[in-house]
């Protein structure tokens, strides 16, 4: 808890031109977060909530409309290109689809060596040793070196993607739906690998997933996103076991399985980021909607410990009555 966080995002905004040309698509609309060293921060939310855009902003793969990202206290937006390139070694990403994110024409040895080559790490011999070490670290062996991605199963390809991501010894790994394309029996192998690597390599994770049980398993803290904003945050247990925001409540109760109680079924689909509702952006689908929600945006309020909720039910107005 002491010292500055490894990563801090301050009021990040990413607006795109809407497809019809007229308005704005508010993909990320004012998000602040901190990631402490050694922590896993889970981000959950449904399609279009902005979680993947947020990940790309944090890594500065795309430029924010406004807001700052501090890595080790340094504003990565203010970095000169040469310095930024060096800092990129500290932050890497693993994508959902290991089929799409590995170049089919490159051998596994070249795929994993590429970041080392680009950043000129060590001598060619040292790099080759390093590639072999990385393969072992992710549970593959030397026989994989000369083979090509199509020769591997989904789980093995994800191991290759992870080996590439950790090649430069980053401090931060953004995992964007890393196990969503995998079968259950393979999913657990990869989750175990990620948990193991984190402690062995002193990593910190931002773990993005739509699967609440996966996020709960790996995360220390969890953020819930809806239409470009964080509507609830707290420890994994707080958020996913005792959800406070009506959206989180619905999300948790929607998980299929044996009944734990009556299910909250939300009406309709999430609105488009091109047409964000006035007031609380969740109000048209909220089962607990109040008059104030229709016209006034709720503020994020602390609700004990590090937990925060952006909902009028917990705002100062609610406590008056």
């Amino acid at each position: 808890m002491t010292g500055r966080p490894l990563l801090a995002a301050e009021n990040l905004v990413k607006h795109y031109k809407a497809r019809d040309g007229g308005g704005l698509a508010r993909a990320v609309d004012g998000v602040s977060l901190t990631l402490r060293k050694g922590e896993t921060l889970g981000i959950v939310g449904e399609s279009g909530c902005g979680k993947s855009t947020l990940a790309r902003l944090v890594l500065r793969l795309i430029e924010p409309t406004s807001g700052r990202v501090l890595l080790d206290g340094e504003d990565i937006r203010a970095l000169k290109p040469g310095v930024l390139r060096k800092r990129r070694r500290d932050m890497q990403i693993v994508f959902q689809d290991p089929f799409a994110s590995l170049d089919p024409r490159m051998s596994v040895a070249r795929i994993i060596a590429e970041p080392l080559d680009i950043h000129g790490v060590g001598s060619p011999q040292e790099r080759q040793r390093k590639v072999e070490d990385l393969l072992l670290m992710v549970g593959l062996d030397r026989s994989a070196l000369g083979r090509y991605p199509h020769e591997f199963s989904g789980g093995q390809r994800q191991r290759i993607g992870i080996a590439r991501a950790i090649a430069l010894e980053p401090k931060l790994l953004v995992l964007d739906e890393p196990v969503s394309a995998l079968d259950v029996s393979i999913q657990s192998q990869i989750l175990n690998l990620l948990i193991d690597l984190k402690s062995r390599l002193d990593l910190s994770y931002i773990f993005i997933s739509h699967d609440l049980s996966v996020v709960e398993h790996v995360s220390d803290r969890v953020l819930v996103m809806y239409l470009g904003r964080i509507v609830e945050e707290g420890t994994a247990t707080q958020v996913l076991r005792q959800p406070r925001h009506p959206y989180t409540e619905a999300l948790v109760s929607a998980v299929p399985g044996a009944k734990k109680g009556p299910r909250i079924v939300l009406k309709g689909d999430p609105p488009s980021p091109e047409a964000v509702p006035a007031g609380c952006r969740f109000h048209p689908r909220c089962p607990k909607v109040m008059e104030i929600c229709r016209h006034t945006s709720p503020l994020s309020v602390a609700v004990g410990g590090s937990a925060r909720v952006e909902c009028h039910l917990y705002g100062p107005e609610a406590q008056v009555g």
């Binding site: 259950v184 398993h217 247990t237 929607a254």
Partner: protein, 324 residues
């Protein structure tokens, strides 16, 4: 047998092969199960286990060649679909048996309006004129929870969200009042709150219509919530077959037990998850004996030699050394 009600669909000893460049391979081997009216049977397993091939063979949707029914029967409503020719199947598909798929966008016709697509089966199977089909289609849209049906009737698939498209698929499937619905991963492509809407809709529709459902999924949570009985498939064979409650309370096959234990929802936070080592052997490389033996913590020498038969009273497992 576990089936107390008369079976509407009864699959017996079904084996399916494919012709490949490397010669013929078996992808489904000796699969038997039955589904009664009003019941939901889950067909679960991981990629490549043969669950979708089984479902598509019941509908006779796989081109032959390369696919071939090598043994067994598929009795539906007194008729053996394994022996049925294409004209006979065309009469059944979309009428008595309907199917919904994982990705509605690829199974809807992008050039037809929603209304025309849903009504098509009525024109084909009931000989209705388009104008007579329309009120039935509008009713159906309301039944599947689509608001403003007049507006939706005239829209095209790309104008709808994923959840609405899946509702349209369900409307298309149910328009002729089928006796059997085959749902192949119907909610896998949907967000969790939309998935919840569709699962609730499927349950409500089944309560009203007594339709029999064969639900193909990889998601054990969906099975637990929706199914009366479950068939677990592994490498083309049935590993375990039981009432859903029994299966979740006490899995007998080590593969099922492993799958249940591997799910993070059944684990302590941050602890090492139970894994099933290795990967599913591809068809043609399944060796002799039990296909799961190489990955199984309970394997005995015998498991690598003889294929275990599916045994048990109402709770069946194909295992020489089942979980006690």
């Amino acid at each position: 047998m576990m089936d107390t009600k008369p079976a509407l669909l009864s699959v017996r000893g079904l084996s399916i092969g494919f012709a490949t460049e490397e010669g013929p391979i078996r992808v489904v081997e000796d699969v038997s199960f039955a589904v009664a009216a009003g019941e939901t049977m889950g067909l679960v397993g991981e990629s490549g286990c043969g669950k979708s091939v089984t479902a598509q063979t019941i509908m006779r949707l796989l081109p032959s060649p390369p696919s071939r029914i090598e043994a067994g029967s598929i009795t539906f409503d007194g008729q053996d679909l394994a022996q049925a020719d294409e004209p006979a199947m065309r009469k059944i598909r979309g009428d008595k048996i309907a199917m919904i798929f994982q990705e509605p966008m690829t199974s809807l016709n992008p050039t037809m309006t929603i209304g025309e697509q849903i009504g098509e089966a009525l024109l084909l199977h009931r000989g209705l004129k388009a104008r007579d089909a329309k009120p039935k289609v509008l009713d159906m849209l309301i039944q599947v929870g689509i608001g403003r049906p007049e507006k939706r009737y005239a829209q095209y698939p790309h104008e709808l969200s994923g959840g609405l498209r899946q509702r349209v698929m369900i409307a298309m499937a149910l328009i002729c009042g089928p006796k059997l619905l085959i749902a192949d991963e119907p909610t896998t492509a949907l967000d969790v709150t939309i998935q919840a809407q569709i699962l609730e809709l499927m349950k409500a529709l089944q309560r009203e219509s007594q339709i029999a459902t064969l639900l193909i999924t990889h998601d054990l949570g969906v099975v637990e919530e929706m199914c009366d009985h479950v068939v677990v498939m592994y490498a083309g064979r049935i590993a375990e077959k039981a009432a859903a409650k029994e299966l979740f309370a006490h899995a007998r096959h080590p593969y099922t037990a492993g799958l249940l234990a591997a799910a993070p929802r059944n684990a302590k936070r941050g602890q090492t998850l139970v894994t099933i080592p290795g990967t599913v052997p591809p068809p043609g490389k399944r060796g002799q004996g039990c296909s799961f033996a190489e990955r199984c913590v309970r394997a005995l020498p015998r498991c690598r030699q003889d294929v275990p038969p599916l045994t048990g009273d109402s709770h069946l497992a194909a295992c020489w050394n089942p979980v006690p």
